[in-house]
Amino acid sequence: MEGRRHWFLKGLKDGVPIMLGYFAVSIALGISARNAGMTATQATLASALIMASAGQYIGFTLIAAGAGYLEVMLMEAIANARYLLMSASLSQKLDSKTPFIHRLLVGLWITDEIFGVSVSVQGKLNPFYNYGMAAVATPGWALGTLTGVVLGNVLPVRVVSALSVGLYGMFISLFVPPARRNRIIAALVLLSFALSYAFNTLPWFDGISSGVKIIILTVAISLGAAVLFPVRKEGGHAA
């Protein structure tokens, strides 16, 4: 575990762009928290702890809808299922001699961006790199959320409308680059768009909540793809 200081400082530096992006994006999340009736304290605490854009967004939406605790937890698991793979991937990236406490700590801050950057280092991963990135990225995410809750009340409708699309911009930036590199992923994205559109417009599916629709579509499409187009090589995954 030599070079702790070096890797922590490098993490701080590489975490700055993540922090800036998180700050802007989580303003929209704060607005959704406010719309869900959450206070600034609750929303900021949720962001500081959970650090998951889609997961929090779905959680806030379900809280606003008065969903049960278990339903919210189930959706949180589905929305964050991708972290299972990232965590599995990082488990291979840490040296097998890394003390157990570091596996517990690295798990706290697995986000799309921190994962993407940390999994790309040469050789084994020093956990202090992740801690450095988390030390700047977490405040960015939490303070952006706070800003969204507080300013969401005084911002003009037009500004709120514009900021509300920011989260979707982030999602787009996460699935488009892999789709460009991989035709199967590109086809899956288009298929997901089409089926999601059908599920949300056809009257037959009116009785299903939007959260359950996401579960059904994600599991069905991903499973179909896994059977038809199994991935045999490691390293195809990007955050």
């Binding site: 802007a24 291979q92 509300s164 930036s173 460009r180 417009t201 187009f229």
Partner: protein, 101 residues
């Protein structure tokens, strides 16, 4: 029944943390089942795409501004736009478009 928001947050945190930490602590060897690995590989892209569309179309005041933001975001991300750039661009497109629609 009045529900406690802090309990929701605690539940969401607990589930998120377990998902993030269990593979890290339990899996020491590489996953070998190709179907499981492939399924987990595809999940993020599919779930992000499903969550984006058509939900983005109703996120703003007008469907037209949202559709323009979607198109701009797709193009910007295709040509290498970062998370930050794509996100800000989408916001800017909606902001400008809603002056006209």
């Amino acid at each position: 029944m009045q529900r406690n928001v802090y309990l929701y947050i605690l539940g969401m945190w607990l589930v998120s943390y377990l998902i993030r930490v269990l593979p890290l602590t339990l899996i020491r060897r590489e996953i070998t089942n190709v179907t499981v690995r492939s399924f987990l590989y595809y999940v993020p892209y599919v779930t992000l795409a499903v969550m984006t569309f058509p939900a983005i179309l109703s996120a703003t005041q007008s469907t037209v501004s949202a559709a323009l933001a979607l198109a701009a975001g797709l193009v910007a991300a295709w040509f290498g736009g970062s998370l930050f750039q794509v996100s800000v661009l989408c916001c800017a497109v909606v902001f400008v478009a809603e002056f006209f629609v």
